[in-house]
């Protein structure tokens, strides 16, 4: 048995196959509570920080052995868990170490094909599973469009190269707060135009195309309609691909909606979001439109093919936020849902407004953890 497992191999086992491996997480209790490895099935966890194995190796190893066998050992970067795995093996417990730890888990991107369709048109969802971030690649007639690229550009560039497509357009749905956008740099490297709308109140220092609400972008026999959907942020934009797939950014998720409180203006942004969802174009789109969002909150949102998508009509029927039919009730619910965002979100927004200033190491640290971009209403369980 190998002593290490890569993030991709672990994804295949926990998500693609739905295995239930026990996880030994050797980080601090707070770090474990905030963010951990999740699979399709509920996993069993043991959180025993690595210093317990420095202080009392025998006793700690015995505790692990009593709790189970065949562990996946996890820490922040993969070194402390490797040390713990060695201790455990000396004590006869079977364990594999997750190479690169949670940092690598949060950086794993898995491309998943959405639907099948003919060879001329392909839609790919790039699942950054550990963080719950989704980006999309649309390929048509040898041309490609990337929406909400992360800073891990090789993911997009290698997919485009593998499918023999030329990048002709890069789009962001909004100025992200939970991760750094790779859009401006991806576009620069390909000589393609980049578009994002920051919206009122924000100064954007990136070269963007002058695109407005309602524009149709045509490429390789396909078309993308640009739809202003303000609320999560003032500039939030959704992209309707060939009239069928809605790349909704953080406006609409398969199990809810994007938080309107990240800018500290829950009242104004909340009103704007209500109008977008009910009276704006999102209210008019047919129920059969397939919504592909920029985030998911739990692995249960992946469908059988591993795609995060849902019919607009089903989201309308299931979302407690969308059931709030008056603007006042909606805004009041949004006010009650306000919670402080992670402090680092302000820095990430600033960096996305002025791209190209952040070192990789810094970016990695800022991006640790799962996104917190969805509204979580204090009352009521959700599916």
């Amino acid at each position: 048995m190998s002593t290490e497992i890569t993030t991709r191999e672990l994804f295949e086992r926990l998500v693609t196959r739905g295995d239930t491996l026990p996880v030994l997480d050797v980080r601090n209790e707070d770090e474990f509570a905030a963010w951990k490895i999740e699979g399709r099935q509920p996993l069993t966890y043991l959180n025993l920080p690595y210093f317990a194995f420095i202080d009392e190796a025998d006793r700690s190893a015995k505790r692990v052995a009593q709790a189970g066998d065949n562990w996946i050992a996890v820490c922040a970067k993969g070194d402390s868990s490797a040390f713990v795995a060695d201790v455990l093996r000396e004590h006869g417990t079977s364990v594999v170490n997750l190479a690169g730890g949670m940092e690598a888990w949060g950086n794993l991107h898995v491309p998943v094909r959405v639907g099948t369709g003919s060879g001329e048109f392909e839609l790919w969802q790039i699942n950054r599973y550990g963080k719950g971030c989704l980006s999309h690649v649309i390929l048509s007639g040898g041309r490609g469009v990337v929406v909400d690229a992360s800073r891990h550009l090789e993911v997009y560039e290698s997919l485009l190269a593998e499918r023999g497509a030329t990048l002709v357009q890069v789009l962001d749905t909004h100025v992200h707060a939970d991760h750094l956008s790779g859009g401006p740099e991806l576009a620069r490297r390909a000589g393609a135009p980049f578009f994002v709308a920051a919206g009122e109140g924000f100064e954007l220092h990136a070269a963007v195309q002058p695109i407005t609400d309602g524009t149709e972008l045509s490429f390789g026999g396909s078309s993308i309609r640009v739809i202003a959907t303000p609320g999560h942020t003032p500039g939030s934009t959704s992209y309707l691909v060939n009239g069928r797939w809605l790349l909704s950014g953080d406006t609409l998720f398969v199990n809810g909606i994007g938080r309107p409180d990240l800018g500290g203006l829950v009242e104004a942004w909340g009103r704007s979001l209500f109008r977008t969802l009910h009276h704006g174009p999102l209210g008019m789109l047919p129920a059969g439109t397939l919504v592909l969002p920029a985030h998911f909150a739990s692995p249960g949102e992946l469908d059988g093919d591993g795609v995060v998508q849902r019919r607009l009509g089903d989201i309308r029927a299931a979302s407690p936020e969308l059931a709030l039919s008056t603007e006042e009730a909606f805004v009041e619910a949004m006010r009650r849902s306000v919670k402080p965002p992670p402090e680092v979100y302000q820095k990430i927004v600033a960096a996305n407004l002025s791209p190209g200033m952040v070192r990789d190491e810094q970016a990695s640290e800022w991006e640790l953890g799962k996104n917190q971009c969805a509204v979580s209403m204090p009352s009521g369980p959700r599916g």
């Binding site: 601090n28 209790e29 707070d30 770090e31 920080p49 690595y50 210093f51 317990a52 420095i54 202080d55 820490c75 922040a76 970067k77 070194d79 402390s80 040390f83 640290e365």
Partner: protein, 80 residues
């Protein structure tokens, strides 16, 4: 008297593993000053001192060295 442990450039678990070894050679109340560059050491030292009743984390400081690198300084003592 304080003893200095230079754990700069070392990744976890080394700062704590080495600190533990050094503390075992010190008498109760003697102070060990640990220099580290691993940012994770800040929370980890706190967690360690919380979990191990024999370890007293007296204080933590952050400074910057001549190359602009952040140095995390931990002052530890053995209680028992």
């Amino acid at each position: 008297m304080e003893k200095v442990l230079d754990a700069r450039g070392l990744k976890c678990p080394m700062p704590i593993a080495k600190a533990k070894k050094e503390l075992d050679t010190l008498g109760a109340g003697e102070v060990l000053k640990v220099l580290a560059t691993d940012k994770g050491s800040v929370l980890d030292m706190q967690g360690w001192a919380k979990a191990n009743k024999q370890i007293n984390l007296i204080k933590q400081e952050t400074t910057t060295d001549e190359n602009g690198r952040e140095i995390y300084i931990h002052y530890l003592a053995r209680l028992g």
